[in-house]
Symmetry: C2
Subunit: 150 residues, 2 copies
DNA sequence: CTCTTATTAAGAATAAGTCTTGTTAAGGAG
DNA sequence: CTCCTTAACAAGACTTATTCTTAATAAGAG
């Protein structure tokens, strides 16, 4: 009969990496699995992650100024990117569905929604509060401004 | 004294392209300006667009599965990406600021918000309504699924 | 065990975006 | 007008995430 998808070691390793890492990029997944599976190739990581995303097992998240990231948390939620350290946080909205309410879409039929926040994560704002403001200002500016321009 | 930024022909041409094109990528801007200014280089387009984004003259928008796009509309608004044709539409929300209200941020201090909708644009849904469903189903699937995987 | 076929490893290919270097030109001073 | 300083530029090399190609491998059915 028609070939069914197979649950290979490679797929299991990639999925496990997603549960251990925090919103990793494909490259971060590759580096993680490469330790335990030295022959697992970069191309396989991209292909497997793409497959997971296509069938809804994981979410592919594209954030401003960053490579694609993969999230195994399926419940609807937004993301926050820290302007200082770049970390991605999950942010849950009480009424995610309501965002599109009363939107002036001019005929566009909405069927999905992604929300990205920017700001400063808990750890960085605590560090800033106890000094080191200069250091964080630098990183903030670096991450906030265009990269090529000073 | 210190050199002031200059308003050069190149910058003017790039900005004009943004007003004529609809949410273009940097490459689309380059192709547009290249007609009237054959010597205006790719690097300059990227640098100028980055500069505009850094000082807030334009918005840089990164949407799922697409290169960075540039938007000269400064009023806060969301974007909708058509799953069939890929077009980007502006979508205005009546209360953009309210989105972060009651968000469970766990210490993340929000200072900015981007909203991306997916769906089907007016033109495509009209075309689908008068037949051609097969054709559009194909494009929809192509654009929705991972690219590498079938 | 054997066959079919999905899956993989390896690495070449693509393309967005960045960076470097030598050149040009805007605009102020004389 | 001419000279000088420096922002801005063109050209093209470079980087790197992602995709594609091809030949080899290994699930899983029979």
């Amino acid at each position: 009969m028609a070939g069914a998808p197979r649950n290979t070691k490679q797929k299991q390793a990639v999925y496990e990496a997603l549960t251990c890492l925090d919103h990793p990029t494909a490259t971060q997944v590759y580096e993680y699995v490469h330790v335990g599976h030295p022959t697992l190739s970069r191309g396989t990581v991209f292909r497997v992650l793409g497959g997971f995303a296509a069938n809804g097992q994981v979410r592919r998240v594209t954030l401003e100024g960053s490579d694609a990231r993969f999230d195994h948390t399926l419940a609807p939620h937004a993301h926050g990117m820290c302007r200082v350290c770049g970390r991605i946080c999950d942010i849950f909205l009480p009424d995610y569905e309501a965002i599109a309410k009363d939107a002036r879409t001019d005929g566009f039929e909405i069927d999905g929604c992604e929300v990205e926040f920017t700001g400063i994560c808990k750890e960085c704002s605590e560090k800033m509060r106890r000094g080191a403001k200069e250091e964080y200002k630098e990183k903030y500016d670096e991450r906030t401004q265009g990269k090529q321009d000073a």
